[in-house]
C-alpha cells in the first residue's frame, strides 16, 4: 500500500514552524536584546555591602526546618506565590536579638500590637517605625523628615539595608502585597493560639520573610482534625480562601492559579491529571467542587464542543480504532444509543435504519465467512462481543442480535449467547426485570425458563 505523504510532511513542517514561533524563548530573545545593550552602556552599580540581619539566617543560609512554620517541607520551596505575592523587605532586623530572653526579651505583641485584634488579611501588621524610636533614639513621626539617632545604633543604615549617607531621607520602600486569603488573627489570639503555632520560630531568626508565613498543611493541623476535637476550626476552603458568590473559592488570579498540593489527597494536577481525576471524583467531589462548578465538568462529560485535551485532531477518523481497542473509556462521557447511534444510523453504518440510509451501505466488519459463520476463529464477532460488547452496542440494536440469538420458538436461530455461569444468576435477574428474557424467549412467565 503506497501513500503519498508529501503533503502531510509539508503540513507537519508548517505546524512545527508555527509552534516554534509560539514558544516564549524565541520571543524572549528579542525582548531582552535592548535591555542587554543598555546595561552594557551603563556602569554596573557597586555591590551592596553585605550587612547582617538582612536574611532569616546569618550568612543567608537556609532556615532550619524546625524554625519554619508548621507544615513546611524540607527543602522548603516557600509558601504559595499566588497566596503571598513576592515581597520586598529592604530592612536589616533580627527578631532573635529583640526577643531573646538574654537580650531585649520583647514579646511579639510589643511591636506587632495590631496583630491580636486584626480580622482581615489587608490589615497592616508591620510595626510602625515609631515603635523603634523608643530604643534607637530615632524620630519617625514625620516620615518626610526622619531624624537619625545616635551614630551607629540609631543611624539609618542600621535598619535600612542599602542606605547611603547621601540618600538623605530616602530609604528603599518596603512592599508587602496583601495576602489573597481571609485571615483573622483575632480569632486565633482569642483562643490563645500562639504566633509560633502558625508562623514558626520567628524569635529564633533574624529577618522574617515570606518563609515564615503560614503553610496550608500547617493550617490543616487544626482545621482538618477528626471529630469534635477540632473545635470551631472549620475545614471549609472558604474559611481561609477568598470566596466566590456561588460558594467556590477564588482559584484564578492574574498572576497565577491556586492548584492543590500533592499531600492533600494526591490531588496534585499533574500533566496526566486528565487520566487520574476520575479516582478523585469517585469519593471526594467536594474537593473538586471547591474550585470547579458543574459547567467545568459538563464541558467534557456532556459537552457539545470536542475537548481537544481528550480527543485530538481528526478524531472523527481516529475514534473507531480507539473504541475498538479500549472501549471502557468512551462510556464515561457518552451514552452510546444517544450519542453514537444517531450519527452511525445517519451515515448508513448500522444494520438498522431507513431505506435511504441503508442504500449506500457497505460491509463494515470482516467478511461474513469470518465474522459470522462457523467455525469460529479469533476474528469471529462472538469473540469481539465478549471482549468489547460496548463497541457493538454503539451501532447495533437488540433486534440485530435477536435475529440469530433468540430462540427458534421466538423466531430466531437459537444461538445461545449466555455465559456458562448464567444459570446461577438467571432467576434473580428475571425476578427483577423479565423484559430482556421475553425478547428472546417465548413464554408467559420468564421465570419458568430458569433452571
Amino acid at each position: 500500500m503506497s501513500r503519498d505523504l508529501s503533503p502531510l510532511l509539508l503540513a507537519a513542517t508548517c505546524v512545527a514552524a508555527a509552534l516554534l514561533a509560539l514558544v516564549p524563548g524565541a520571543q524572549a530573545q528579542g525582548d531582552q536584546a535592548p535591555a542587554a545593550s543598555a546595561s552594557a552602556d551603563e556602569p554596573a552599580p557597586p555591590p551592596a555591602p553585605r550587612a547582617p540581619y538582612n536574611a532569616p539566617m546569618p550568612g543567608g543560609s537556609a532556615t532550619p526546618r524546625k524554625l519554619l512554620p508548621p507544615g513546611a517541607s524540607f527543602p522548603d520551596p516557600g509558601p504559595s506565590k499566588v497566596i503571598y505575592p513576592p515581597q520586598q523587605i529592604p530592612l536589616r532586623f533580627s527578631h532573635k536579638k529583640h526577643s531573646d530572653k538574654d537580650g531585649l526579651g520583647l514579646k511579639c505583641t510589643e511591636c506587632h500590637g495590631a496583630a491580636a485584634t486584626s480580622v482581615a488579611a489587608s490589615d497592616r501588621l508591620l510595626p510602625s517605625p515609631k515603635v523603634c524610636d523608643g530604643c534607637h533614639g530615632t524620630e519617625h513621626e514625620d516620615l518626610l523628615a526622619v531624624k537619625a539617632g545616635d551614630p551607629g545604633f540609631g543611624s539609618c543604615e542600621v535598619c535600612h539595608a542599602g542606605y547611603q549617607p547621601d540618600h538623605g531621607n530616602n530609604v528603599a520602600r518596603v512592599a508587602m502585597p496583601t495576602a489573597r486569603m481571609r485571615s483573622n488573627h483575632k480569632i486565633h489570639a482569642d483562643r490563645n493560639i500562639q504566633c509560633e503555632s502558625c508562623h514558626g520560630a520567628v524569635q529564633e531568626i533574624d529577618l522574617a520573610t515570606r518563609e515564615q508565613l503560614p503553610r496550608m498543611k500547617g493550617c490543616f493541623g487544626c482545621h482538618a482534625m477528626s471529630g469534635p476535637g477540632k473545635g470551631k476550626a472549620q475545614n471549609d476552603c472558604n474559611v481561609c480562601h477568598e470566596p466566590l458568590p456561588d460558594g467556590r473559592m477564588v482559584s484564578a488570579y492574574p498572576d497565577g492559579k491556586l492548584l492543590p498540593p500533592r499531600w492533600m489527597g494526591n490531588l496534585e494536577h499533574t500533566a496526566d491529571y486528565i487520566e487520574r481525576h476520575k479516582r478523585v471524583a469517585a469519593d471526594n467531589t467536594k474537593a473538586c467542587g471547591s474550585c470547579h462548578n458543574e459547567n467545568f465538568c459538563t464541558d467534557c462529560h456532556d459537552g457539545r464542543v470536542r475537548p481537544r485535551s481528550i480527543h485530538p485532531n481528526d478524531y472523527l477518523s481516529l475514534h473507531p480504532v480507539e473504541a475498538r481497542l479500549d472501549n471502557p473509556r468512551c462510556t464515561s462521557c457518552h451514552q452510546e444509543q444517544q450519542f453514537c447511534q444517531p450519527c452511525h444510523t445517519r451515515a448508513g453504518i448500522t444494520m438498522t435504519g431507513s431505506p435511504g440510509n441503508l442504500r449506500n451501505q457497505g460491509r463494515f466488519h470482516p467478511p461474513r465467512a469470518i465474522w459470522s459463520e462457523m467455525p469460529r476463529t479469533r476474528q469471529h464477532h462472538a469473540w469481539e462481543a465478549m471482549r468489547n460488547l460496548n463497541a457493538c452496542v454503539a451501532c447495533h440494536t437488540e433486534r440485530d442480535c435477536t435475529v440469530c440469538h433468540a430462540t427458534q420458538a421466538a423466531g430466531g436461530r437459537g444461538f445461545n449467547p449466555h455465559p456458562p455461569d448464567f444459570a446461577s444468576r438467571c432467576k434473580s435477574a428475571a425476578s427483577k426485570n423479565p423484559r430482556p428474557c421475553l425478547v428472546c424467549h417465548e413464554g408467559a412467565n420468564p421465570r419458568d425458563l430458569c433452571r
Partner: protein, 525 residues
C-alpha cells in the same frame, strides 16, 4: 408520493425564550439586599462534514449550541461564606444541527427514500441542571438540593430530577436522594445519564406505526433512589459508599420477531433498570505516598463490574511514581438483553511517573498492559461446537459448559504528557500508543497558546500526527496529519471569543475541515 406532515417547531424553544427573559429580569437591580446574581451564556457554532466509510452519504454538520445559565446566591442574606446559604442555579441548552434534513426527522410510512432516524431532533433544548440548594443549614449540619442535579461518585456521572438531603456530622456525611433519572425523550431531557444498551426516546412521530422501529423503545419515567455515606475527616483518609437503584416503567416492546404467537409483545411492569453499590477511598501517607481504591458491585447482574487500585510513592518533592490496576466489565440497562450475553472483563495494569521538573515544566508518563481473557478459545472449539442442526445450544442449553479453553488477548499501551506554562501562555504535548492483536495506534499531539496585550488577544496552534492499524479491517488503517489554528479575543472582563480552523488529512477521507466559533459571556451583579 406522500407529502410529509409539516414540521413542528420544538415546543422547548418557548421555554428557552421564557427563561432568557427571566434571566434578564434577574439582572435588573432591585433592592439593596446582598443577593449575588450571575448570568452566563455560551454560544458555539461548528461546521464540518462527516463522510460515511462507504463514501455516501456525507453529513453536513452545522451545529449551533446556545446555553443560558442563571445563578442567584446568598438568598439568606448571610455574608459569611461558611454560614447558611440558599442559592438557585440553572442552565439551559439549545443544541441544534441545522444540517439535519427534514426527511431525517419525519417518518413517512412506505417511503423507500426515507432517511428517518428515530429520536433525531433538529434543535433539542434541555435543562442541564436547575435546582435550589441549601448549605450549612441548622448550624452546618444540614444541606439539600431540590430540582435537576448531577451526581458524581464511584457509580459515575449521573443526573436526576428530585431531592437530596445531606446531613453532615463531625465524622461522617450521610446523603439520601430520590426522584427520576434524566431520560432522553422526556421534556427538557437528554439521554446522557441513562445506562447503555437500550435505544430509547420519544416515539411520538411513530405513534401511527407501532411496529416501525420497534427496537426504539418509548421512554418512560424512571424512579430512582439512593444513599451515600462519606467520611468527613481527616483529610488524609477519605471514603465514600454509594447505593443507587433505578426503575424502568411504562410499556415497551418485548419482542422484535413474530414468534409462535405471531405478534410482537409488549411488557408493562415496573422493573429494575440498575441497582449498584459502589465504594471508593483514598489515603495519603504524609510525604511518603498515597493510595486509592474502589469497587462497584452490580446487584442486578450479580457481579463486580469494576474495581481499581492505585498506589503512588512520593519519591522526591517533584517526582512521583506509582502503579494502577483497573478491572472493567460492562453492564447495561436492566431492559437490555446485552447484560446476558457472554462477556469477560478487560483488566489494565500500568505504571506511572510524574515529574515537576520546574515550576513551569512538568512531565508524566505511563505504560503497561491491558489484557482480556476468556474461557472460550475459538482456536480450540470443543466448548461450543455446533450440534447436528448447526446450532450452538438452544433454549439456554450449553453444549459443554464444563469444558474450558482459556485464551487471552494482551495489549501494550502507554502515554506521555508534557506541559510548559509561562505567564502569557502554555505549550502541551501528548503522545499515546497502543499495540495488540486487534490493531495499534500511536501518535503525538502538540499544542500551544499565547496571549498578548495583557490577555486581550491570544493565538493557538495545535498539530498532530497519528497512525493506526485496525487488524479486523486493515483497509481502514491510515496515517493522519492535522493542525488547528485559533485566535482569541477578550473584549472585556465579561466576554471572550474564540475562532478555530481545523484541517486534517488522511487517505480515508482526504482533506477534512472544521470551523468553530465560541463566545462566552458572564455577567455578575
Amino acid at each position: 408520493m406522500r407529502t410529509p406532515p409539516p414540521r413542528q417547531k420544538p415546543p422547548c424553544l418557548k421555554t428557552f425564550a421564557s427563561l432568557t427573559l427571566l434571566a434578564m429580569v434577574a439582572l435588573t437591580p432591585s433592592s439593596a439586599r446582598a443577593i449575588d446574581t450571575e448570568v452566563t451564556a455560551t454560544t458555539a457554532a461548528q461546521g464540518y462534514a462527516l463522510r460515511s466509510p462507504f463514501g455516501d452519504p456525507i453529513l453536513m454538520r452545522r451545529r449551533v449550541m446556545q446555553t443560558l445559565g442563571l445563578g442567584v446566591y446568598h438568598l439568606l442574606d448571610d455574608e459569611k461564606p461558611t454560614g447558611p446559604q440558599i442559592s438557585v442555579k440553572l442552565r439551559l441548552r439549545l443544541d441544534a444541527d441545522i444540517g439535519i434534513e427534514s426527511s431525517e426527522t419525519t417518518f413517512v410510512r412506505g417511503d423507500t427514500r426515507s432517511r428517518y432516524v428515530p429520536g433525531l431532533i433538529e434543535a433539542p433544548v434541555d435543562l442541564m441542571y436547575g435546582y435550589v440548594e441549601g448549605r450549612n443549614l441548622a448550624g452546618g449540619w444540614l444541606g439539600f438540593r431540590l430540582g435537576r442535579q448531577y451526581q458524581s461518585n464511584s457509580l459515575g456521572w449521573w443526573g436526576f430530577d428530585g431531592g437530596l438531603v445531606r446531613i453532615q456530622s463531625p465524622y461522617v456525611q450521610v446523603e439520601a436522594y430520590g426522584g427520576f433519572e434524566q431520560r432522553g425523550g422526556l421534556p427538557l431531557s437528554l439521554g446522557r445519564y441513562e445506562r447503555n444498551g437500550v435505544w430509547r426516546g420519544d416515539r411520538q412521530g411513530l405513534v401511527d406505526s407501532p411496529d416501525a422501529f420497534a427496537m426504539f423503545l418509548e421512554a418512560g419515567r424512571a424512579p430512582a433512589m439512593g444513599f451515600a455515606l462519606e467520611s468527613a475527616t481527616p483529610y488524609w483518609l477519605h471514603a465514600r459508599l454509594d447505593y443507587r437503584r433505578v426503575y424502568n416503567t411504562g410499556a415497551v416492546a418485548a419482542s422484535y420477531l413474530p414468534g409462535a404467537q405471531g405478534a410482537l409483545r409488549t411488557y408493562n411492569e415496573t422493573r429494575t433498570s440498575s441497582e449498584r453499590l459502589g465504594y471508593a477511598m483514598d489515603a495519603t501517607f504524609g510525604d511518603h505516598g498515597a493510595g486509592k481504591g474502589g469497587v462497584v458491585y452490580d446487584l442486578y447482574n450479580q457481579f463486580f463490574s469494576a474495581y481499581y487500585a492505585n498506589l503512588d510513592g512520593f519519591v522526591t518533592q517533584r517526582l512521583t511514581v506509582g502503579a494502577d490496576f483497573d478491572y472493567f466489565r460492562p453492564t447495561f440497562d436492566g431492559d437490555s438483553i446485552f447484560n446476558w450475553f457472554t462477556q469477560t472483563p478487560i483488566t489494565t495494569l500500568t505504571g506511572r511517573g510524574s515529574w515537576q521538573a520546574t515550576d513551569r515544566l512538568d512531565l508524566a508518563v505511563n505504560a503497561g498492559v491491558r489484557w482480556w481473557s476468556t474461557d472460550d478459545d475459538p482456536d480450540a472449539p470443543s466448548t461450543l461446537a455446533p450440534d447436528a442442526a448447526g446450532r450452538v445450544g438452544d433454549q439456554g442449553t450449553l453444549v459443554d459448559p464444563k469444558a474450558s479453553n482459556t485464551a487471552r488477548l494482551t495489549d501494550v499501551l502507554g502515554s506521555a504528557y508534557g506541559r510548559y506554562r509561562w505567564s502569557t501562555g502554555r505549550a502541551t504535548l501528548r503522545g499515546v500508543f497502543e499495540v495488540g492483536e486487534r490493531g495499534r495506534r500511536e501518535g503525538v499531539d502538540v499544542g500551544g497558546e499565547r496571549y498578548f496585550h495583557g490577555g486581550k488577544y491570544g493565538a493557538s496552534l495545535r498539530g498532530s500526527v497519528f497512525d493506526w492499524r485496525d487488524d479486523l479491517r486493515p483497509d481502514r488503517s491510515a496515517t493522519s496529519v492535522g493542525y488547528v489554528v485559533g485566535g482569541m479575543w477578550k473584549p472585556g472582563p465579561m466576554a471572550d471569543v474564540l475562532l478555530e480552523w481545523e484541517h486534517n488529512m488522511n487517505r480515508l477521507v482526504g482533506q477534512r475541515f472544521r470551523v468553530l466559533a465560541l463566545v462566552n459571556v458572564v455577567v455578575n451583579r
